[in-house]
Symmetry: C2
Subunit: 275 residues, 2 copies
């Protein structure tokens, strides 16, 4: 998928919502545990009930790997299900990968070729040659951590490095890498005031924004400081939507929560883009 | 496994070699491709032929994930094979994981519980709450990236942050985290002169050292500056050992290469520890 196609989908659906798929067997409705693949059944129901309100799904690989081979099979089935039934949806493997060049190439192969995700999240610590193998894939997107939504973000990401915070240095340096037009960035919603500075460095890039909902970030604040003239935001919500109910009505309740967010987004898009 | 047990194994085997398992279907002996699980058969043969010369095996998760579900099954079989047949061996899931707290908990569950590795590599960028969930596991070890062996290490890791390089700040900060005694660190062999400074910050920690062999690091230099009074080093070699031959003699040739390294290590240990 191209960023232009993603932008068009956002205007069409009046939504820049991405639903995080973090399936935890201790949290999903217990009646699903009787099915052969509870994780897939959970994801499938969430996807079917929210696909018209969202532009992206973001399976979090940890929540599949924790269940071993069965979990990896559920991940494969989930991405296949999205690609087959909702091919317009932007898919994100939230994997936070990154290693020396030949290893990153194998990770890129895993997520872009074997599983056929549109994008994957990566960590910047190992620098250029750990990220460029991902960037080499055409019409695939590499979403690099810049400023994350957790407390630990202040341990290293905001350290002063030669007069600027590390995350700003990460953003600036990454722009010099080969095929950097395939980069997007993770910027946490819990730090809305930072978006102004970030937009000075990466005015055109899509930003994946976690931290709305369970982590406490505000959608209107994020949009105020982070939106660009192509929207340029993908706002992720996981727990607040997928765990809206633990009962047999979980998919319906997930839709209700997604709809609340989508309505807020439609209003913001309407005001800004007159669509 | 405790670090004391690891230390004892090192003295007993006169080796601190760790063999990296990076199985690539385009590089493994082609006769193995006729077997049902070429990756597992390759790993098994390498393990059987080198286990008395090494104290650790480090499967690199990228090289399994690239083959999807089949790859993950090969990873599961590989770790099970080591744990069942060579329970004294220290196992490292080279996964470079790290995410917000509840996600890191799931990764820890994946590698420490489901797969039952002794250790896992993690990335520091997201800070304290992304690493502490791993540290909570007793007798499991979390090997955090400090200074890596690749070119990109100089993009961010060596940036000056408040008067010291970022990787030093990472080392210092990590020592304040809960259960930090379960931390080990990745320090690349291609940067031997840095070990002196690193040992001032983490005198007692085990360091996992990639970059010997194919990446050009020198064993004697690393030992000169990096060894502590408990050895404190795990030196990893992958390609130079596992791809020593592409023929049916690959396991034998891998043993020959591992033996060369082990002999050099035995000499160093003999000189320093009189064993």
């Amino acid at each position: 998928m191209t960023t232009q196609q993603l932008h068009e989908q956002i205007l069409q659906k009046k939504s820049f919502l991405c639903v995080g798929l973090d399936p935890d067997l201790t949290k999903i409705p217990q009646h699903l545990l009787e099915t052969e693949d509870p994780i897939f059944e959970f994801n499938k129901a969430i996807i079917d009930s929210t696909h018209d309100l969202t532009v992206g799904y973001k399976p979090n690989t940890a929540f599949f790997e924790a269940y071993g081979i069965k979990g990896w099979m559920s991940l494969q089935k989930t991405i296949n299900y999205i690609n087959e039934n909702y091919p317009d949806i932007f898919t994100i493997a939230d994997a936070k990968r990154g290693d020396i060049g030949n290893t990153s190439s194998m990770y890129a192969k895993a997520f872009f070729e074997d599983l056929n995700f549109d994008s994957v999240t990566v960590a910047p610590y190992m620098g250029k040659d750990s990220v460029e193998p991902f960037l080499a894939f055409e019409n695939k997107h590499t979403i690099m951590l810049a400023l994350t939504s957790n407390e630990g973000a202040f341990d290293f990401q905001t350290l002063n490095t030669n007069g600027k915070e590390l995350y700003k240095q990460v953003l600036e340096t990454s722009k010099t890498w080969k095929n950097s037009e395939n980069l997007m960035y993770v910027v946490g919603a819990t730090k809305a005031e930072y978006f102004t500075e970030i937009r000075k460095i990466v005015p055109d890039s899509f930003l994946l924004v976690p931290g709305i909902g369970a982590q406490g970030g505000s959608l209107s604040e994020v949009c105020k400081y982070g939106m660009n003239d192509k929207v340029g935001l993908l706002v992720n919500s996981a727990r607040a939507i997928i765990y809206a109910s633990k009962g047999t009505d979980f998919a319906e309740k997930a839709r209700e929560e997604a709809l609340k967010v989508q309505k807020e987004m439609a209003e913001i898009i309407g005001l800004k883009f007159q669509v």
